[in-house]
Amino acid sequence: MSRYLRTWEFALAVLLVVEILVLGAINPTFYDPENLLYATLDFMHILFAALPLTLVIITAGIDISGVSVMGLASITLGLAWVAGINVFLAAGIALLVGALAGLFNGLLVAKTDVNPLVITLGTLFMFGGLAQGMPALLDFLGFKAYGSAGLAAYQYEGITGLPEAFIALTEGTLGIVPVPLLLVLAFALVLGVLLHRTRFGRYLYLIGDNPEAARYSGVPIVRALIYAYVLSALGAALAGVMLTSYMTSARADLGGDALLPIITAVVLGGADILGGSGTILGTLLAGAMLGYLRQGLLALGVTNDLIQVVVGAILIAAMATKQLAHAWGERRLKRRALAKRERR
């Protein structure tokens, strides 16, 4: 039992509860369970993208192209719908495009020795630019590429007028639990089983911890890495689709400012940026903590800019505490070992 109490995830869970208690004490409307559940809608896209990114970071990689994939998926959905395709089929196409984007990332990362940061930086620009340029390109080629209001309106408000059935996707509830939250939890469950209960999951940890050992023990590194990057991009595409439904419009720049909170959630969740450690539960809890913090502060009238400062400071403080605690623990271990030797 005490083994569980000492984990980082338990500390995060305690922090999450304390945070909600404190924010609720200042602002009692925060306590309303329905309110708490609905607040998740505002940060579900962070969770959708951060959960599978955990897998990538465990392999000592990184994927910063996710925010572009969100926009790409959103605009793909919108354009496919404008072209006359059923909106849910269009969402499927958007997810497929997301998976293909992940395949592109994964192939480049797995088949070359180029730093994943450089590759996903390149694809961040590429996918983002593609998302921005696609409507204009289709227009240039003579296709109808935006809503009835014309190109100017598109640039201002995105593709609007999506069917009610699709908008209802993020408005629906099961009991009092919003459907998107259930989807996030289901996604987390699938990823959790994949990471913590399958051989594939073990491979990811080994690749991150010791790539040489992974290679010599016959781990299918290329395939495992490709799956990790595909899942990461798929999560981002899912985030883009859900956000499109929530915002009721398809835009190329959707989720553009989500990069910082996404990576913060994963790192705060306990994943080591140098690879080899991290859990799905940790990312889920850290993401929820950050999301509620943001909600609570906004409700208190704190501006978005100050929240950005606070989130940045939390990220640094959490990391610094962890690193210093680690260094301190190492030193204590060494000292103990020395003392033992002297006693002999």
Binding site: T112, D113, G122, G128, T303
Partner: protein, 332 residues
């Protein structure tokens, strides 16, 4: 001579010349002296940020906060000018802001041991947030004429800022080539443990790298504030990513210890020239980012291919050499 020709600097310079010549075939206006100067002029702020970022990357680090640092420095410059401070004092305040912002990153990374990407990702948000808090979210306009006049100074038909940046570039190039402390950046990045055991000041060198990145970002802030004439809240947003891309294109390796200021500068020039050439070709600006991404990926992929081929040849030569040696009787 052959070594110089096969260097990344030469490759990217060649690509740059090719790019300009091809654009020139379609739109001869590009090849006019004034257009070329304008292309260089447009690349100055990215070039300066890229140079600062280079020091960090040389030490095997990464700094994604330089864009926000430049934005913050620009806000300090604008606010102090509008308070009526003399130009020189306002510029000094901006440079000090960059220096402090960089030093703060350095403290987190070298003393608190926060991994560079996490530390600078945190300050990316913090500096951008601070910048908006300082101004209340509105743009800084109505800057006094003296700052705008700076970029109008010309010498031999070339803006003063171009000369200034060239001077800074020449200085960094000379120092990293000749000065002993500047060589530490390479040693620390190539092999941190080795550098430590040699008695080199590893942590002070890393500290200096992040501080320099902040200072160069502030220099860039002075340049673009003068050129644009106002400070928007999105000033220099995304420059951190472009600076990293420019470094990689210019041959500064993210694994540390490899790269030159000249390469970084050519990389930055290349990244901006692509945008400028698209304008000359009449391609809509929304394609800038997509093309920048494609170029970055293309360059690193080509580089990977060349390296792998060279490595393969070296191995083949070694195997053949060993075979010949064994045929002659092997070890005696």
């Amino acid at each position: 001579m052959r070594r110089w020709l096969s260097s990344r600097e030469a490759l990217v310079t060649g690509l740059l010349v090719l790019l300009i010549l091809i654009t020139g075939l379609i739109n001869p206006n590009v090849l006019k002296f004034r257009s070329l100067v304008e292309v260089v002029n447009a690349s100055l702020s990215l070039l300066l940020i890229t140079l600062g970022e280079m020091f960090v990357i040389l030490t095997r680090g990464i700094d994604v906060s330089v864009g926000s640092t430049a934005g913050l420095a620009a806000v300090v410059l604008g606010l102090s000018l509008n308070l009526g401070w003399p130009l020189s004092l306002a510029i000094l305040a901006a440079l000090a802001t960059g220096l402090v912002a960089g030093a703060l990153n350095a403290v987190g990374i070298t003393l608190l041991r926060v991994p560079p990407i996490i530390m600078t990702l945190g300050t990316l948000g913090i500096y951008r947030g601070l910048m908006r808090i300082l101004t209340g979210g509105s743009w800084i306009e109505n800057l006094p004429q003296n700052i705008k006049a700076l970029h109008l100074w010309h010498f031999l038909g070339v803006p003063f800022f171009v000369w200034g940046t060239l001077l800074v570039l020449a200085l960094t190039a000379y120092l990293t080539w000749r000065a002993r402390p500047a060589r530490y950046f390479y040693a620390v990045g190539d092999n941190p443990e080795g550098a430590y055991f040699l008695g080199l000041p590893v942590r002070p060198t890393q500290f200096a790298a992040y501080t320099l990145a902040g200072l160069f970002a502030a220099l860039a802030a002075v340049v673009f504030t003068s050129q644009i004439g106002f400070v928007s809240m999105n000033a220099a947003e995304g420059y951190e990513l472009k600076a990293i891309a420019a470094n990689v294109v210019g041959g500064v390796s993210l694994t540390g210890g490899v790269g030159t200021p000249l390469g970084a500068a050519v990389g930055a020039l290349f990244m901006t020239a692509v945008h400028s050439m698209l304008i000359f070709l009449g391609v809509p600006g929304i394609w800038d980012n997509a093309l920048a991404g494609v170029i970055l990926l293309l360059v690193v992929y080509l580089d990977y291919h060349v390296r792998r081929t060279l490595e393969y040849r070296r191995r083949q030569a070694r195997i053949q050499g060993e075979a010949a040696w064994e045929a002659e009787g092997g070890p005696s």
